[in-house]
């Protein structure tokens, strides 16, 4: 691969390897939002998302001295997190055999929780949640703060880097369409 080397990440990981706790804090501040967004975009509950994020960071601690490409730590985290999310989904399916999903309480809805202050923001969030799953998860990851690189997004979602831009455009168009339609007619 001829991607430019992310000098910043190499430096950060080098400091982490040397035991610098500040560098670790910087690393977690940079990527935890992306990991959380991926888990929530994949529809994990808050508890499962929290466990998956924690496990991903623990795995990095475990492997930090042996990671080969120090400049791609974001991609390593994205890949590991994706696996943790899939494992969490498989775990739920094992514990809840198919057919018993109807008994589950609906996941907490931030609209009901009254977390969104403005109605037009609530409408936007509702429209986001009405998108097809592929679009929801892509937009959730792209929305992460700080914004992740397309290389990291590609690994998080297991899709080619080149298709992120066009898919993003289509998903945002679909979102605008849903906004125009307004609340679903009953």
């Amino acid at each position: 691969m001829d991607r430019p080397i992310d000098v910043d990440s190499v430096d950060l990981l080098g400091r982490v390897r040397a035991g610098d706790e500040t560098a670790w804090a910087e690393l977690t501040a940079r990527y935890t939002n992306m990991l959380w967004s991926l888990a929530r975009g994949m529809r994990l509950s808050e508890q499962d998302a929290a466990d998956a994020v924690q496990t991903t960071w623990l795995r990095l601690v475990e492997r930090v001295d042996t990671i080969r490409h120090a400049d791609r730590v974001g991609g390593w985290l994205a890949t590991t997190m994706r696996r943790e999310c899939l494992a969490a989904i498989a775990r739920r399916e094992r514990v809840m055999p198919a057919g018993s999903w109807d008994d589950l309480p609906a996941p907490a809805d931030p609209l009901e929780d009254g977390l969104i202050r403005e109605e037009r923001d609530a409408a936007l969030w509702r429209a986001l949640r009405a998108l097809r799953p592929r679009c929801q998860v892509l937009l959730r990851v792209l929305m992460a703060d700080p914004a992740p690189s397309y290389a990291d997004v590609a690994l998080a979602l297991d899709m080619p880097v080149g298709s992120i831009g066009p898919t993003r455009q289509r998903c945002l168009a679909a979102l605008r369409q849903l906004m125009r339609l307004g609340p679903e007619p009953i």
Partner: protein, 151 residues
């Protein structure tokens, strides 16, 4: 305004709403920072070598019990771990070889002694869900830890 700028603006608005509607909980950020305290450069890793949750295995299900079988190997220690969930309660049943003592370590650093019988078998009930690993005294007194697993 170009469509791209439009898209950037919409995404920025979404980012703002997400920070309100589904922000990363503070305890998740704190756990991420705290994970660094689990770093231990003297520990050898017993890697996950088999996991029934991976593709290729039929799910093991006997009645209402959901079971997941895991195997770890490394540093001269082998661990077989059977994670069983019955009515929301998690039980660990396992076997350790190559080690004479182990603790169960949680992601937050809390440890409990693993009661090994003379054959290296153990059973631990009432396990809280979340990431955990086994940390054992292996050959020549070296510390060997399994890789993390979320139950």
């Amino acid at each position: 305004m170009s469509p791209d700028e439009d898209d950037d603006q919409l995404l920025e608005r979404l980012r703002r709403v997400a920070a309100e509607a589904d922000a990363v909980p503070e305890n998740v950020l704190a756990a991420a920072r705290a994970a660094f305290a689990m770093r231990d450069t003297d520990v050898e890793l017993a890697r996950l070598v088999a996991d029934s949750a991976e593709a290729g295995f039929e799910p093991v299900r006997s009645g209402p019990v959901a079971a997941r079988l895991l195997a770890f190997d490394g540093g001269g220690v082998c661990v077989d771990l059977d994670v069983e969930v019955t009515a929301g309660r998690t039980v660990l049943i396992g076997h350790v070889s190559g080690a004479d003592a182990c603790v169960l370590e949680r992601g937050d650093g809390v440890r409990q002694l693993v009661p090994l019988d003379e054959l290296g078998r153990f059973l631990i009930g009432g396990v809280r869900p979340g990431p955990l690993r086994l940390r054992c005294r292996g050959p020549a007194g070296r510390t060997v830890a399994t890789s993390w697993v979320t139950v």
